[in-house]
């Protein structure tokens, strides 16, 4: 079992290393002639006004919150799914109740208009 994790660590290291090595090799081959005009920010040929990292729209944040709720729910459901074959019908009904509570949260967000893109 430990072997599988060792392989995974090696694979992750190599899969990070190969793109990094390719980018590094290309950095050696490529020309380096920076100039202020070349390094300016690309926006329609006009100079950027104000800082670029601005607050934009709260709607994106709402979707982030909804995602957090549902992703945690799904991760909690995975142990249930693995044990599913050994469960009785009563235990499955409990899991259904768990999902139904979170579905109620989705309905609430829907009714409150959190899912509308305004």
């Amino acid at each position: 079992m430990l072997h599988e994790w060792l392989y995974l660590v090696i694979f992750l290291t190599i899969s990070m290393f190969i793109p990094a090595a390719a980018i590094g090799a290309a950095a050696l081959l490529s020309p380096k002639k920076p100039s202020p005009l070349k390094n300016s920010i690309y926006e329609c040929g006009i100079e950027t006004v104000g800082p670029s990292r601005i607050q934009f729209k709260a709607q994106y944040y709402l979707y982030g919150l909804l995602f957090l709720i549902f992703d945690v729910e799904t991760v909690l459901l995975y142990p249930f799914a693995v044990a599913y074959n050994r469960l009785t019908l009563f235990a499955v009904l409990e899991a259904v109740l768990f999902v139904a509570i979170l579905a109620a949260a989705l309905v609430y967000a829907w009714r409150k208009g959190a899912l509308e893109w305004t």
Partner: protein
């Protein structure tokens, strides 16, 4: 085991005995074999992408009644290699005010996240990278890492278009993870294990027959995760000029490009392993080399459907994409999960065909009901809209009055 029945295991056994004969301790021999295997698999996947890019450009040309690349080599097959050589010698332009660490980390993360998925997918009955027991969870986690790379690219570029692309990633890619994770629960439930090897070998009948709704939702969500054509808001050229990768040049851009094409194939590979039985087919246990072929054929079919969708559908608006996910796909995935759990439990155990029929029927009912609900919703919405809409004159001359809105009979 002969070479032709199972080439990879044959080579690995041969290398192992070679290393042991040289006097390498068995633990170290295993370690060296792991490094060689991981290197071969990830390098092979990257080199394979060169072929995939050519294939997609060629097929895209055919779909749009063009010829596609046809100059370099037979059928233009060396076109991508020429492009790669060119992109290797391009200058890196780091824009003013960008965050240097995050700016350089983002393309590496995006590429690594796609490559890392290959570690857990069983390629045949004997050849797989790692048989960890949480394979499905690993795929989801690594997929989220790729989104992190794209968000970092958008944030670090110090560009408003790139930032908008990053925002859209937060909204869209992250939202489509929810139905994806929910539908992956269904095969896990039917198998009783999260390991991809177990899921593949449990499919005497393909899971697409037992959970067609989950398969459909997963397929749509995986196209969206890939930010391919009906969902390509993140790199919408005509709105935010390529979005998050606008400030990237040279091979740093090339990494995003390669990651995108490899991700499309990897998504097809995951779909084929989880819902289409992976390497399973007649004779695949006896001759593992046949398993490769079956997996490749299944993946190629799914990949072809992905490409044909990419080149035939127009881009959706951001509100449509979000509404489609949260108001249709997520409830559908929840309902399909619950119905599968209840139907599978309430039918008597041990009778395989009865369970299969029951699940298929339940899925059909879900699909028809969902379809009816959507059409009722659209009819109601169109009735609201009818008051405002109507033929509008493009240019009004002085003599003609603008046409009155016409009532349309439904």
């Amino acid at each position: 085991m002969s070479f032709f029945a199972d080439p990879i295991t044959f080579i690995s056994n041969w290398l192992n005995s070679l290393l042991t004969n040289w006097g390498v301790p068995p633990g170290w021999a295993q370690f060296i074999l792991f490094i060689l295997g991981a290197g071969a698999l990830s390098l092979g996947a990257m080199v394979f992408t060169i072929f995939l890019i050519w294939l997609e450009r060629k097929l895209g040309g055919r779909f749009q009644d063009r010829i596609g690349p046809n100059r370099v080599g037979p059928w233009g097959i060396f076109q991508t290699i020429a492009d790669m050589l060119k992109i290797f010698t391009k200058e890196y332009i780091t824009p003013w005010g960008s965050d240097p660490v995050l700016f350089n980390l983002a393309p590496v993360l995006a590429m690594a996240a796609v490559l890392a998925v290959w570690a857990v997918i069983p390629l045949s009955s004997t050849v797989y990278g790692s048989n960890i027991q949480i394979g499905v969870l690993y795929i989801l986690a690594v997929g989220a890492l790729g989104e992190l790379g794209v968000i970092l690219a958008g944030f670090a570029s110090n560009n408003k278009y790139a930032l908008l692309g990053g925002f859209r990633v937060v909204a869209m890619l992250i939202s489509y993870e929810v139905p994806m994770a929910l539908t992956l629960l269904v095969p896990v439930m039917l198998t009783g294990s999260m390991g991809l090897n177990d899921i593949t070998s449990a499919q005497r009948v393909w899971f697409i027959w037992q959970a067609p709704v989950a398969a459909l939702v997963f397929f749509i969500a995986s196209i969206a995760e890939n930010s391919r054509a009906p969902f390509d808001l993140i790199e919408a050229d005509s709105e935010i000029v390529a979005g998050f990768n606008i400030e990237y040049s040279g091979l740093k851009f090339g990494m995003f490009y390669v990651a995108d094409f490899l991700h499309a194939f990897t998504a097809a590979l995951i779909f084929a392993s989880v819902f289409l039985g992976g390497w399973r087919g007649p004779g695949a246990e006896l001759y593992p080399a046949l398993g490769f072929l079956y997996l490749l054929i299944k993946t190629a079919i799914v990949y072809f459907i992905t490409i044909s969708i990419r080149f035939s559908l127009p881009r959706l608006r951001v509100d449509q994409v979000m509404a489609f996910n949260w108001k249709y796909l997520t409830p559908l995935a929840l309902v399909s999960l619950l119905v599968t759990a209840l139907v599978d439990k309430s039918l008597p155990a041990g009778q395989g065909w009865l369970r299969l029929g029951g699940l298929l029927l339940a899925n059909l009912v879900i699909f028809v009901v969902a379809d009816r609900l959507v059409s009722i919703y659209h009819r109601r919405k169109n009735q609201e809209r009818r008051v405002v809409s109507g033929p509008r004159p493009i240019a009004v001359t002085l003599r003609e009055k603008p046409a009155e809105p016409v009532e349309v009979e439904s």
